[in-house]
C-alpha cells in the first residue's frame, strides 16, 4: 500500500462514517422534534426561576394572556403592586420589573392588559398576582419561536413544581381558557 492508497482509503472510510453519523443524527433529531417542552400553567407555582434558569440570555418563557378569562379589572392584581400607592402607571405601582405588561383604558371601569413580548423576561410576578387574587388569566408558556428545545431543559430541571414537561409537538402550547381552568 502506498501513501496515495492509504490517504484515499482513510478519506473514503471517514466520509462513509460521517455520512452514517449525519443520517443517524437526522433520524434522531426528527424523532426528538416530536416533542417539545411546555409549562403546565396549573402546576406552575410562579417561583420566578424561568427568568433566570433558561440557557437563553432572555428566557424562552414569556407571559401569555387568556383574554376570555380576564376580568379587565381596574385594580389588576397582576399589574399593580400589592396595596398600590395609586392606580396609575408610575414605576412604584407596577409589579412588572420591565414594564412588559401594558395597561390600556377601554371604558370606565375596564382596562385591557397586553404583553409587550420583547420586554417580558418570564419572571412570573404578574402571573402570581393574577393567579392569587384574580382570575388567573395571565400565565407562563415556553415560546417555541425562541426555545431551542434542549435535550435536558435547564428550567425543567430547576422547576420546583415539576410543571415543565415534554408535550407532543403538534400541540405545543397549554393555554388556559375559560373552558380549561384546571
Amino acid at each position: 500500500m502506498n501513501r496515495r492508497n492509504f490517504l484515499s482509503g482513510s478519506l473514503r472510510g471517514s466520509l462513509m462514517l460521517a455520512l452514517g453519523g449525519v443520517l443517524g443524527a437526522i433520524t434522531g433529531r426528527a424523532k426528538a422534534r416530536n416533542t417539545v417542552w411546555q409549562i403546565d400553567p396549573f402546576q406552575c407555582t410562579q417561583c420566578g426561576r424561568c427568568a433566570t434558569e433558561c440557557v437563553l440570555e432572555l428566557s424562552a418563557v414569556k407571559c401569555v394572556h387568556s383574554f376570555d378569562m380576564c376580568g379587565y379589572c381596574q385594580l389588576c392584581t397582576g399589574y399593580f403592586e400589592p396595596d398600590p400607592n395609586k392606580l396609575n402607571t408610575a414605576a412604584e405601582n407596577q409589579l412588572c420589573p420591565t414594564g412588559a405588561l401594558v395597561r390600556s383604558f377601554i371604558e370606565d371601569p375596564y382596562y385591557e392588559y397586553t404583553i409587550n413580548e420583547p420586554l417580558c423576561v418570564g419572571c412570573a410576578k404578574c402571573v402570581k398576582g393574577c393567579t392569587m387574587f384574580g382570575n388567573g388569566s395571565l400565565h407562563l408558556q415556553i415560546r417555541h419561536d425562541r426555545c431551542v428545545n434542549c435535550n435536558e431543559c435547564s428550567i425543567a430541571r430547576a422547576c420546583p413544581a415539576d410543571a415543565i414537561h415534554r408535550v407532543p409537538a403538534d400541540r405545543p402550547y397549554q393555554f388556559k381558557s375559560r373552558e380549561r381552568k384546571s
Partner: protein
C-alpha cells in the same frame, strides 16, 4: 532575500491574528462573566426595590421615596437591557472576529518556512514501517466505526414522553368524617345547617351582672354579625371595619384570644362596600374543615388561614353590589369551598374554590335577583347536594362540579332565611308567604310538582329554621315561635315572645334557645308542648346564632363572646392573657 510584499503580508497577517486573538479572549471572558452574573437576575430579584416598596406602604405620601423608586427602577432596567445588548452584539462580533483570526492564522502558517524532508532523498521506507501504518489505519477506521454505531444507536432511540403521574388516591387526602363534623360546629348553624346538636348543655339561665352561669366572656375587637364556629378547643369568629377584615381564634376552654389575623391582599384599597347597619361588614359566618378556616367579608374578600393564624391564600371575588351587604355564609364539601354570591340576575353566581390554593374549580351563573341566605351541603341518598335559596329559585347543585340537580320556582321577596334539610326534604321559607318542604331526590325543574307540605304559620323573614328531625322550629322577626312536625308540616304549638329576632334558634339535646336582638335569651324544652325554662339578658345586642356544645353554650353578642354553662362560679372570670 524575501520579496518585500511577502514580508508585509506575513507581518500583517501576524498582527491581525494576534489582535483578533486578544479580542476573542477578552470578549469571551466578558461574555462568560456576564453570563455568570445573570443578566435579568438583578432586575427581577432586586431586594433594594422590594425594601423601597415596603417603605412606600408605610409612607404613601413620600414623594421623594417615589422618585427614588422610579430612579432605581430605571437604572435596573437600563443595566439589564444594556448587558443583554452587549451579550447579543458581542457574540455576533466574536463570530466575525473568529473568522478573521482563522484566516489570518492560516496565512501566517502558510508563509512559515518549511524544513526539507530528508526522507525525500533517502531510501524507501522499510516494510515494517508500512505494516505499522496499516495497523494504524485499521485502528482509526475501527474507532470511527464504533463511534458511528454508537451515534446511530443513540439517535434511533426515541425520546419518550414522561409517563403521566399516578392519580392521587382518594385515601391520600383525608377529609373530616361526618362524625367529626357533627362533634364540632364547623359552619353556620352547624355541620348540616340544621342548628342542632344532639349532646349539648344549654344553660336555662344566667346572670351577667353576678357572673352566675358565665364561664368566661371576652371582648371581640371588631364588630360583626357572624356567628362563632368551633373545632376542638378553637373558636373562630370574624370582625371587620372599613380598614380591616379580621379572623379571630379564641380558646374555647378559657376564652383568651389566641390570635387575630388581618387579611392582606392588594384589594385592601378597594372601595368600601355599601352595607346596611343591620348587615355590617362581617355578616357571613366562617367555615372550617378542621385544617383551615375560611372566611368571607362584605367586599367579597375570601381567605383561608391555618389553625396558627397564618394566611394560606386570599382573593377577592368582587366587587359586590348588594343592597343590604353580602351576608351568605360559606359552605364546604371535601376540598371545595362553596361561595354563593347573589346580587342581581346578571351577576349572581356560585363559585367553588380549591381549599388548598384558592384557585377557582368551577363557577355557575345563577338566575337569582338577590339573596342573603346561606347554602347548605347535605347527603341525599348517599350523594352530596348543595342547596341554595334565592328569589325566585331553590336550586340544588352537585358540589363536585357545579352541575344542577334540580330546581323549584316560587320564592319571592328579600330572601334571608337559609334552607334546612330533614328526612329527605328541604325546608325553605318564602318570606311573607309560606314555608314548604320539597323532596330532595328529584331531578330537573320540579316547579310543577306539589310540595311535600306547605304552611303559612309563622313564616320567618330573617332567621333560619332549626330542626332535630323530630321538630322544626320557625321564628319570625316579631317573636312568633312555631314548632312543627317536619314530616307533615302540622303545627304542634306556637308561642309569642314580645321581642324582635334576627338570630336563628339553636337546638341542643332537649333544650332550645333563641336570642332577641336586644340580647334577651329564652330557653325552653325541645318537646311537643311549650315549656319555658328560663330567660336571661346578655346586656348587649345580639344577632348571631348560638353554638350549643357538649358542656356549654357559645354566644356572640355586640361586643363580647360569651361561654355560658349550667353550673357557674360566683364571679365573672376575666380570660387569662
Amino acid at each position: 532575500m524575501k520579496p518585500l510584499s511577502q514580508t508585509i503580508w506575513k507581518q500583517g497577517s501576524l498582527a491581525v491574528a494576534i489582535a483578533s486573538g486578544v479580542f476573542l479572549v477578552l470578549m469571551g471572558g466578558l461574555l462568560l462573566f456576564n453570563q455568570a452574573q445573570g443578566k435579568v437576575a438583578g432586575l427581577v430579584q432586586s431586594t433594594e426595590l422590594v425594601r423601597l416598596h415596603n417603605e412606600l406602604r408605610q409612607r404613601p405620601q413620600d414623594e421623594e421615596l417615589k422618585q427614588r423608586i422610579r430612579k432605581l427602577d430605571l437604572q435596573l432596567r437600563q443595566n439589564s437591557f444594556t448587558e443583554l445588548r452587549i451579550s447579543h452584539n458581542g457574540a455576533s462580533a466574536m463570530i466575525v472576529v473568529a473568522g478573521l483570526f482563522l484566516a489570518s492564522a492560516h496565512l501566517v502558517r502558510k508563509q512559515r518556512q518549511k524544513l526539507p524532508d530528508p526522507l525525500a532523498w533517502g531510501p524507501r521506507r522499510p516494510v515494517e514501517e508500512n505494516r505499522t501504518r496499516l495497523k494504524t489505519q485499521y485502528a482509526v477506521a475501527a474507532m470511527f466505526g464504533v463511534a458511528a454505531v454508537a451515534a446511530v444507536g443513540t439517535s434511533l432511540q426515541a425520546v419518550r414522553l414522561p409517563s403521566p403521574p399516578a392519580p392521587v388516591q382518594a385515601a391520600a387526602v383525608r377529609f373530616p368524617t361526618s362524625a367529626e363534623m357533627r362533634e364540632n360546629w364547623p359552619a353556620f348553624r352547624g355541620f348540616d345547617g340544621s342548628g342542632y346538636r344532639e349532646v349539648a348543655a344549654i344553660p336555662a339561665a344566667w346572670n351577667v351582672a353576678s357572673g352566675q352561669g358565665i364561664r368566661w366572656k371576652t371582648e371581640v375587637p371588631l364588630p360583626g354579625m357572624s356567628s362563632p364556629i368551633r373545632w376542638t378547643n378553637a373558636l373562630f369568629l370574624t370582625g371587620a371595619n372599613a380598614q380591616s377584615n379580621v379572623v379571630y381564634r379564641f380558646d374555647a376552654d378559657k376564652g383568651q384570644l389566641v390570635w387575630s389575623t388581618t387579611l392582606r391582599n392588594p384589594g385592601n384599597k378597594m372601595p368600601e362596600p355599601k352595607v346596611m347597619e343591620d348587615t355590617g361588614l362581617a355578616a357571613p359566618t366562617p367555615v372550617t374543615d378542621g385544617q383551615r378556616i375560611y372566611a368571607i367579608f362584605a367586599n367579597a374578600e375570601v381567605a383561608a388561614l391555618d389553625f396558627s393564624g397564618k394566611q394560606i391564600w386570599c382573593r377577592i371575588l368582587g366587587p359586590l353590589d348588594n343592597p343590604y351587604g353580602h351576608a351568605a355564609s360559606l359552605a364546604i364539601y371535601q376540598d371545595r369551598l362553596l361561595v354563593q354570591l347573589d346580587q342581581g340576575e346578571a351577576t349572581s353566581k356560585l363559585v367553588a374554590l380549591n381549599t388548598s390554593t384558592g384557585q377557582e374549580l368551577w363557577r355557575v351563573a345563577r338566575p337569582i335577583v338577590g339573596s342573603w341566605a346561606s347554602p347548605i351541603v347535605v347527603e341525599v341518598e348517599a350523594k352530596p347536594q348543595l342547596i341554595t335559596c334565592g328569589e325566585p329559585w331553590v336550586i340544588s347543585y352537585n358540589p363536585l362540579d357545579g352541575s344542577e340537580l334540580w330546581r323549584v320556582n316560587g320564592l319571592g321577596g328579600e330572601l334571608a332565611p337559609s334552607p334546612a334539610y330533614t328526612g329527605g326534604k328541604v325546608i325553605v321559607c318564602n318570606p311573607g308567604s309560606d314555608v314548604r318542604a320539597i323532596p330532595a331526590n328529584g331531578s330537573g325543574d320540579l316547579s310543577t310538582n306539589l310540595a311535600a307540605w306547605k304552611t303559612d304559620a309563622g313564616v320567618p323573614a330573617v332567621s333560619s329554621p332549626a330542626c332535630d328531625g323530630q321538630r322544626l322550629y320557625l321564628l319570625t322577626g316579631d317573636g312568633q315561635l312555631s314548632c312543627l312536625d317536619p314530616g307533615s308540616g302540622q303545627v304542634k304549638w306556637s308561642h309569642e315572645f314580645k321581642d324582635d329576632f334576627y338570630s336563628s334558634p339553636a337546638i341542643g339535646g332537649n333544650r332550645v334557645i333563641i336570642v332577641s336582638r336586644k340580647g334577651v335569651a329564652h330557653v325552653f324544652e325541645n318537646a311537643d308542648q311549650f315549656h319555658d325554662l328560663g330567660q336571661s339578658e346578655l346586656g348587649e345586642n345580639c344577632n348571631a346564632t348560638p353554638v350549643p356544645d357538649r358542656q356549654c353554650l357559645y354566644l356572640r353578642a355586640g361586643k363580647h363572646l360569651f361561654c355560658l354553662e349550667e353550673s357557674a362560679p360566683v364571679a365573672v372570670k376575666s380570660p387569662e392573657k
